[in-house]
Amino acid sequence: MITLHLHTGIQIDGTLRRVLAVLFLGLALNARAADRVLVVNSDASVEKYRQAGEAFLETWQGPVVQIDLGDTTLPENRIRSRMKAESPTAIYCIGTRAYLAASSTFKTERIVLSSAINWERLPKSRNLDVIANELPVENQTTLFRYFFPGMKRIGVLCSKRFNSQWVKRAVSEAREAGVEIVFRHVDRPWQTEKQLRRLLPDVDALWIVADPVVLSSADDIEAIFRIAHESRKPVFAYSHALADFGATLVVAPDHATVGRQAAGLLAGDRPGTDKEPVVQHPAGSAVTLNIRLVEEYGLEMNERALDSVNHVIR
């Protein structure tokens, strides 16, 4: 029998000691607000990562240490040693690479992850908060209709392999914003043009979503925009990188807001348990509008929405 003497002088047997240890451990894992934060950036030279990191630093009040994995040639094990040496109470990971390094180093500390594509496929650490990489579908479709109230049917090309679950959810969520999503599946890149030409006559606009089969190459992306332009159908996109290809409207996450959200999460106590990540969506959107294309296509736009545009292309 193992005995433990507490300051009360009460003797506790081994069984009760193990129960108490589990209870105390559980309480510790309902993490308290962070005191010392380690910010690990996958690569601060990438614009969206830089924005998130800078906004976090502007918002966070306490001590912070930064590591930029894009700015180091150290091997992974040395990076992990360096991270461990900082003894953070919490870690903010910007991007997948940062998360993989941090989660393999820290097993009980609180981790906030942002800016990671397909974070659901990553191994889950305990005490994890996530700010997803995408705006909710309802947010995006609400903004589509905010700018173009008359657009009710929006077409989507996507693969069954990567987006079958997403598109089912999207159809339901978009309905809340008064938008009907009409989708066609593309299972091989060579099917894209044919499916696109079938889709465009039935919809008011095309919404490009992140799908590696549909967007398998720069040539495919250019072809999609060319065909949509020939049909005078506006293209809505999820990334500012697609603005240069000819997107009429881009609604993307505002990465500075993501950094501020991360700071807000770490400033408070983590709700819930260590079993499931707590997930938020990006709270801010960055909008790019190509007014030249709006005029060229003769689109009816709600001009009162102009005060909600971050970048205007003329």
């Binding site: 109230p149 909008v287 205007v312």
Partner: protein
């Protein structure tokens, strides 16, 4: 409204060229798109009317320095900011913005209907668009009669525009949002379900929309520009510029409001 994009080219505008009358713009209430875009749009509309230019200013201190020095200029600014200016500045408010046929706006604190009252917001996250200090002052003013100390406990989450702030509440990224009544109405037009899930927990007194101010002894060029601006909404390109600022037009500030502003 979209977040201000501070651009180095606009941080400290140079003094105007001779004969040029400039409209300087600074307002925490209007969070606009790229300064370059705004300037290009307004300059394009003003060019046929005379030797005029539009110049957004990123920092309040720079704007106030221009107020103190410039003679032949107009200044587009928030009415709240105007009230805080040194009385020794000899300025006269001339025009006021119009939105939805009104010259005032009401700010509200919006939460989910399922939430408790204002007191349940202690330590909560409130989504705002615009500077924290401006939002904090607005919130203190809203809660003055009830829970004045509560405003100091709030954690602000700055987002690019008011529709983002309202949607942040629906999606759980914030417990409440500061937004104008007109923003909520716009959300209701496009997403009635989200708007219907919100309730008004507190509100501010009506605040004048942004005002256009000139030196008290305005010269002929300044007066001519005022005429141009008060008619800007009559042309499509001019209306588009005003819409970028969240306005439908500009009109002469009524005498009662001039007196109330104290100048």
């Amino acid at each position: 409204m979209a977040l201000v994009m501070i651009e180095l080219a606009s941080v400290m505008p140079s003094r105007g060229e001779p004969g040029l009358t400039t409209i300087y713009f600074f307002s925490p209430e209007i969070t606009v798109s790229s300064f370059n875009t705004l300037k290009a749009a307004f300059d394009g509309v003003l060019a046929p009317c005379g030797n005029y230019a539009f110049q957004p200013v990123a920092r309040r201190a720079d704007f106030e320095a221009l107020l103190a020095k410039q003679e032949s200029a107009l200044f587009l600014m928030s009415s709240t900011h105007y009230r805080e200016l040194d009385d020794r500045m000899r300025l006269t408010p001339r025009l006021v913005g119009i939105r939805d046929a009104k010259i005032v706006q009401e700010h509200g604190l919006y939460t989910l209907k399922a939430n408790g009252g204002v007191s349940s917001l202690r330590g909560a996250t409130v989504a705002i668009s615009g500077p924290r200090e401006y939002a904090a002052n607005l919130l203190r003013d809203m809660l003055r009669g009830e829970e004045p100390a509560l405003a100091d406990s709030i954690n602000f989450l700055v987002v690019p525009k008011q529709v983002d702030a309202l949607m942040a509440v629906s999606f759980g990224s914030a417990t409440a949002a500061l937004a104008t009544e007109s923003s909520v109405r716009r959300l209701a037009e496009i997403n009635p379900r989200q708007a219907a899930s919100l309730k008004l927990a507190a509100s501010s007194a009506p605040i004048l929309l942004p005002i256009l101010v000139s030196p008290s002894d305005a010269n002929a060029s300044t007066k001519a520009l005022l005429d141009v601006l008060s008619g800007l909404q009559q042309q499509p390109a001019g209306l588009q510029c005003l819409r970028m600022l969240g306005l439908d037009g500009m009109t002469e500030l009524p005498e009662a409001e001039k007196e109330e502003l104290g100048r």
